[in-house]
Symmetry: C2
Subunit: 325 residues, 2 copies
Amino acid sequence: MGGDRAPAEIVAGAVEAAADGIEVVLYGPTGLESRGLPLVGAPDVIEMADKPADAVRAKPDSSLVRAVRAVGDGDADAVVSAGNTGAMLAAGLLHTRRLPGVLRPAIAVPIPTRNGASLLIDVGANADCRPEHLLQFGVMGAIFAEAILGVSHPKVRLLSIGEEPEKGNQLTLEAHALLRDAVELDFAGNAEARDLLGGVADVLVTDGFTGNIALKLLEGTIVELFDLLREEVAATTTGKLGGLLIRPAARRIRGRLDPELHGGAYLVGLRGLAVIAHGNSSRRAIANAIRLAARGVDNRVVERLAERFPERTPRDEPAAEPLGA
Amino acid sequence: MGGDRAPAEIVAGAVEAAADGIEVVLYGPTGLESRGLPLVGAPDVIEMADKPADAVRAKPDSSLVRAVRAVGDGDADAVVSAGNTGAMLAAGLLHTRRLPGVLRPAIAVPIPTRNGASLLIDVGANADCRPEHLLQFGVMGAIFAEAILGVSHPKVRLLSIGEEPEKGNQLTLEAHALLRDAVELDFAGNAEARDLLGGVADVLVTDGFTGNIALKLLEGTIVELFDLLREEVAATTTGKLGGLLIRPAARRIRGRLDPELHGGAYLVGLRGLAVIAHGNSSRRAIANAIRLAARGVDNRVVERLAERFPERTPRDEPAAEPLGA
């Protein structure tokens, strides 16, 4: 029931993914047209405007909470939703729980770039971070990039305000030192924000505040520039004709930058996999999200994370109240 | 001598501004072709790659340091340079010095948006900030927007990860409360990064780390999208024809988003005005930067800042080592 086009597009995407042999189970109200897929009844709905943590507690029988709980209970390997991001995070923390040793679960988003996807992690689960959180984001991001995006030996960079190690704020200066000393990582140093779309890294590590600002600025700028182009092209007759002729080119650019290609945002660091698709996801986006979740399951991404963070550290702590990125 | 096109384009821009009646003095090596403008000899040059603080100390006779010192010594009202940003900041702190009561000078950049310019402050002078710094950035930004950008009753917003006051990191949560309680400000709450180009505020307050990431991401995304468009348009014959026809529209967009319109970055909070033009500034950009500096002088921007921050507060502190944004 999550997302602007639920339930029809969600069900259609699920049907498309099921045709690939993926075992898809729907969670939603009894009587929903599930087009032959198994349906688990969940009478309630968490709305996009609901306060995440409150909604998750108040609506245990919502499709979102029931589906997330299925992963926590071992009834499913992964959950996909186009619903409320903050509620997915809150439900994940409450019902799927963190992997032992993971200090802070994070939200990772594959950004389409010139050289394939760059995984930006964290984009909003943790607005305030410590250096050791950023180190873990790097490790989790690298495992994720290997298991789900199919990158071998992912190159990890730290988002900062200069490529030199001495450029940054206190957090990135200390995180840089930790990442540099992590022998298991292919750490390539700092990356500047201007190079983000150029694809300078497979994994780009940042705190959840900066990552959220960067992601939304990127999305907003792309939308705004296409709007400006449409406006200015439509302002003259010659422009309108030119606009018709470049329409296929504009469509190819949209295709190259399409966030739907990569399924959406991933909650990383829990005892199961959770994918948060865009709120306005089409059936194709939902199908892609389910396929990528299935690939993560096949490639044992959660087990690989668990092996990497084998035990609770003394600094382990309860996760902060989710912020609803 | 600063900037990629120095000295010819710098001198040409100075000549253009002088034609408006602005009294322009050049600082550079003796023998420079100054096209009739007065020239103060400065034999040394700070390069773009020089380490800011070191270079300012090691090269007291550089054109950059001499010009900044002229403001500190009262020989000039404002300084304009297309040189090393970090060196301008370091020289400003050393030779022009902070206004009493200003905790941290900041770098402000007017971002071209749909509704005129939004002043983003700070974009890199202070990588780590406290909430009271952000409050001062808001106050300084509002005075600056009035005196230089000509906005009456500027609307101030805080860059964060949600419009709701409770969304943000520790810094923005506390800064939000301070800004809200500042009766002299027209504080309109948080703004999200996706709305930056939409022009949601006259002044957009942020810490220097986030502001620098946002500015560079914006610049990088615009460049990358135009590159992608050029590539995809050139890929087919029809596209190429369309590309020719929309060229005027593309030029109009570039004009609307042109950072050269607003002169560059401004060092705010010193006992004089300093403008840092883009490194690749044309004569037109330099002339605009000089005109805006002159407007700031005419509108007494430094005096207005001094009146607003009347005395040293107990929390006054030495400014951090500049980071060379």
